[in-house]
Symmetry: C2
Subunit: 153 residues, 2 copies
């Protein structure tokens, strides 16, 4: 599971942390899920974010994969809710639209735009991490848009 | 989500607690999952069980329902793992086989056998609660069988 933390007080937002949550490769489902919960709890404690955005459940063609993703999503949602964070969810299409301007963008296009928008020193090559950054960026753009609409009233 | 706690030191096992975890009907998915996590944590803290058994994921025909069940399962697994409990999972068929002797038993047969085996003063009419009791009873029978095999060696 990829993660990314953005500082929205700068323009462009600053990428504070990103990476993959490590899970015990040979562990049981419960041990893997606990590792995810502990990692998310630790990230929230360390960075004290105000928002918590994640991918809205997509229906994977592989049922077993879809179930494992749903289990991890449930765990992540509880971590966010328990910390009192405002939770947002975006479909892959919403993320592509927000980051690249096209809902049909491919992974390479998203990776290029992340580097461009956030002025990163090097590309992010792991798909799950790039996805996490794109989701955080999507929420950053939503927050900025909402604030702009509110101040224009 | 139904739950049941059995005391395995008596014969038959004594039903210590059973019921449905209440979730806010109008809450978000995250709020509902947090209510489930808090309820399971409270039950574990109150009863300090040694084992934690739950239904192995079945593939519901309704994909949306299956995803919601998987999210709740992930949350429950983390509660059990975080408390250091031994976790067991049983398919609906294993539960039916164990409780009634037939993997094709219907819900009425399971409810009758629960009342009979556990010598309950009244029937359990809610399906999710009856299922939870049946899962706990399945694990109780497994624990007793394992202990019997070990002592016969």
């Amino acid at each position: 599971m990829g993660y990314a933390l953005l500082d929205l007080t700068t323009d462009p937002p600053r990428l504070l942390a990103h990476g993959l949550v490590e899970t015990p490769r040979l562990g049981s489902a419960a041990e893997k899920l606990l590792a995810i919960a502990d990692a998310i709890d630790a990230l929230i404690a360390a960075h004290e974010p105000a928002f918590f955005a994640l991918e809205r459940l997509y229906f994977n063609k592989n049922v077993r994969t879809a179930m494992a993703v749903a289990e991890a999503r449930g765990v992540a949602l509880v971590c966010g809710a328990r910390a009192g964070l405002a939770i947002a969810e975006y479909t892959p299409q919403e993320v592509k639209q927000s980051v690249t301007g096209s809902g049909g963008a491919d992974k390479r296009a998203i990776q290029r735009m992340i580097v461009h928008i956030l002025e990163l020193p090097e590309p992010v090559t792991q798909d799950n991490v790039a996805d996490a950054i794109a989701i955080a960026l999507t929420h950053a753009q939503r927050v900025k848009f909402t604030a702009a609409v509110a101040s224009a009233k």
